[in-house]
């Protein structure tokens, strides 16, 4: 009887705590439910209709037609955009890691007095608002008339180049801007990881006659890997979801540069706001969301294993 009372009180306490927890978080959760979750569900609903600029209000359900169009009709461009996005992510991540590692290593050169000055200057691009930097690159560097690159080329007697005019060149130009924007963060992370390493490992390795390459391969990289892994993962996601660079550089409304490269995000945007095919664009959005869900579930399962 006494025990019964005890658990009753316990139950009451749990109930009270649950109530107060939900009470405290209700406004926030309600906001998220109404502004974030509901539009996603609504996007899912639109993706099953033929809503477009001609059927803005009198649309009807057409089942999985839009998904079929995206996944089975190659000419629609979604699969190409997906391929470009994957290529974009791989190229950018590899270059980022290699370059950031190299620069972070050099920053840790023994006796480098101006280290902090260099570091501060190098993270400048991170501090600038991203879209401003992209627009400055677009006009200041790549513009075919007065962009700095073409001014230099002309001074050297070359022909001006239309940096954003063709697919391959535009892809490279966008990659350069992405590296410029993203390297500061990666350098900071790797530099921080290198700083936290225990120097005594190297001393014994040097005594054993290990070369620089061996030290890098067997000591440095394995030791910084777990430290930088979360940041690398987050950066991979942001690279995969990149929209601003490609949109602002090559395909602003009324200022298309001639290149026709799409990542999945710019593709979804174009289908919604330029060609006004809302149903189809929503299907693309749901597909992208699905991919992101699978990725983040895979990675969170993996990181839980490792911990």
């Amino acid at each position: 009887m006494k025990k019964q009372q005890h658990t009753d009180r316990e139950k009451k306490k749990i109930r009270r705590e649950t109530l107060s927890a939900y009470g405290q978080s209700l406004p926030s959760l309600l906001l998220i439910l109404l502004i974030v979750i509901f539009p996603i569900i609504y996007t899912g609903y639109i993706s099953l209709t033929n809503m477009n600029v001609y059927h803005w209000n009198n649309y009807e359900l057409i089942g999985l037609e839009n998904y079929k169009d995206a996944l089975l009709v190659f000419d629609n461009g979604f699969l190409t955009a997906l391929f470009v996005t994957i290529l974009w992510t791989i190229v950018n991540m590899v270059l980022q890691l290699v370059i950031a590692y190299g620069i972070a290593m050099l920053l840790n050169t023994k006796g480098l007095r101006l280290r902090n000055v260099y570091r501060t200057l190098l993270i400048f691009p991170w501090a600038m608002p991203g879209y401003v930097s992209i627009l400055l690159w677009k006009t200041g560097m790549y513009n075919s008339q007065f962009g700095l690159l073409n001014q230099w080329i002309q001074k050297l007697g070359g022909e001006p180049v239309r940096w954003l005019g063709s697919n391959v060149l535009a892809f490279i130009s966008c990659t350069v801007v992405n590296l410029w924007l993203a390297l500061p963060f990666m350098i900071t992370i790797i530099d921080g990881a290198l700083q936290s390493l225990d120097k005594s490992f190297y001393e014994s390795a040097v005594l054993d006659g290990a070369t620089w390459l061996e030290q890098t391969r067997y000591i440095t990289i394995p030791m910084i890997k777990p430290i930088i892994a979360p940041s690398v993962l987050i950066t991979t996601f942001t690279t995969f979801k990149q929209f601003d660079i490609i949109y602002l550089l090559t395909q602003q409304v009324g200022a298309k540069t001639g290149a026709d490269i799409h990542t999945i995000l710019t593709y979804a945007y174009e289908k919604a706001f330029i060609t006004n095919n809302y149903g189809y664009s929503s299907a693309i959005s749901i597909l992208i969301f699905g991919m992101l869900l699978v990725f983040s579930m895979l990675t969170s399962a993996k990181s839980r294993e490792e911990v």
Binding site: Q24, V36, L114, L292
Partner: protein, 280 residues
């Protein structure tokens, strides 16, 4: 060659490398800066140098007098402050509850929040437009505030919850034993301890609203309703038109507050963000 000499030469080479790299990295910004100050406006001239021969502040004056930049600034500030107040006002209690209390549904909600964090709000822009437009909220500040608050609510809750987790619960328990009321506990102990994360979260929200352009240009139609980001977007020089010197001056004016905030908070940035486990 002696070992010491070798070391010195290596240092010189590394230093040269960094001087070159730093200069190279800063070129786009330096170029914009120089163009914005150049009195001769000789963009097509072959003799461009980073130090203009004749300097002028004319372009900066044009930014403030010919363009409605102060109005855009006001619009951005209103949006930022309202978004900030709502996100923090709802986010702090929620983050505290999720960090300190154990209740059914907690784990599930946290998992959903991580997944939502991976979702770019751009993808539901269409649906948001379709939902807000019959309510008459397109081309209004309220509409944008709704969008921004939702996006930032997920971030605020998740980021601050991560930081609350790192504050030892024993501090609060000690205060409770000393007879502090719940209210006293939160205002006197929890909030002061959480100051760094509140500051960083607030900064990230401000920066987000300051930099957000894609919703702003699609949801706002008149240039008097533009935010700074949307306004700057509309100022850009294209291949054919627009004034590149004025645009570069405007770009630098818009970037300056963000630069100041960034370098002032750089130290807090790492602790305030990494403990939350998300990057803004």
């Amino acid at each position: 060659m002696s070992k010491k000499n070798k070391q010195t030469i290596r240092l010189i080479i590394v230093n040269l490398f960094f001087i070159l790299i730093c200069f190279g990295v800063l070129i786009p910004i330096l170029y914009a800066f120089s163009v914005s100050l150049n009195a001769e406006n000789s963009l097509l001239g072959a003799n461009f140098s980073f130090l203009p021969k004749r300097m002028t502040l004319q372009n900066y004056k044009a930014v403030f007098t010919e363009k409605p930049i102060l109005l855009w600034f006001k619009n951005s500030m209103i949006l930022a402050v309202v978004t900030l107040v709502i996100s923090l006002g709802t986010g702090i209690p929620a983050a505290y509850a999720f960090s300190r209390k154990r209740f059914p549904g907690r784990k599930l909600i946290l998992k959903i929040l991580i997944l939502l964090y991976a979702f770019p709000s751009l993808l539901s822009m269409m649906a948001l437009y379709k939902l807000l437009s019959p309510m008459g909220l397109i081309n209004t500040k309220t509409g944008l505030i709704i969008v921004y608050t939702g996006t930032m609510a997920v971030f605020a809750l998740w980021n601050m919850k991560g930081y609350f987790d790192t504050i030892p619960v024993e501090i609060e328990e000690a205060a409770r034993i000393d007879g502090a009321s719940q209210f006293r506990l939160v205002t006197g102990i929890v909030l002061p301890l959480a100051k760094p994360t509140i500051a960083v979260t607030a900064m990230m929200i401000l920066v987000y609203v300051w930099n957000e352009y894609i919703f702003a240009i699609n949801f706002m139609t008149g240039s008097d309703t533009y935010t700074l980001a949307a306004g700057l977007y509309s100022l850009q020089a294209t291949e054919m038109s627009g004034s590149w010197p004025v645009f570069s001056a405007a770009s630098l004016v818009v970037s300056l507050p963000i630069l100041i905030v960034f370098f002032a908070l750089q130290k807090n940035m790492t602790t305030g963000l990494t403990s939350g486990g998300v990057k803004g």
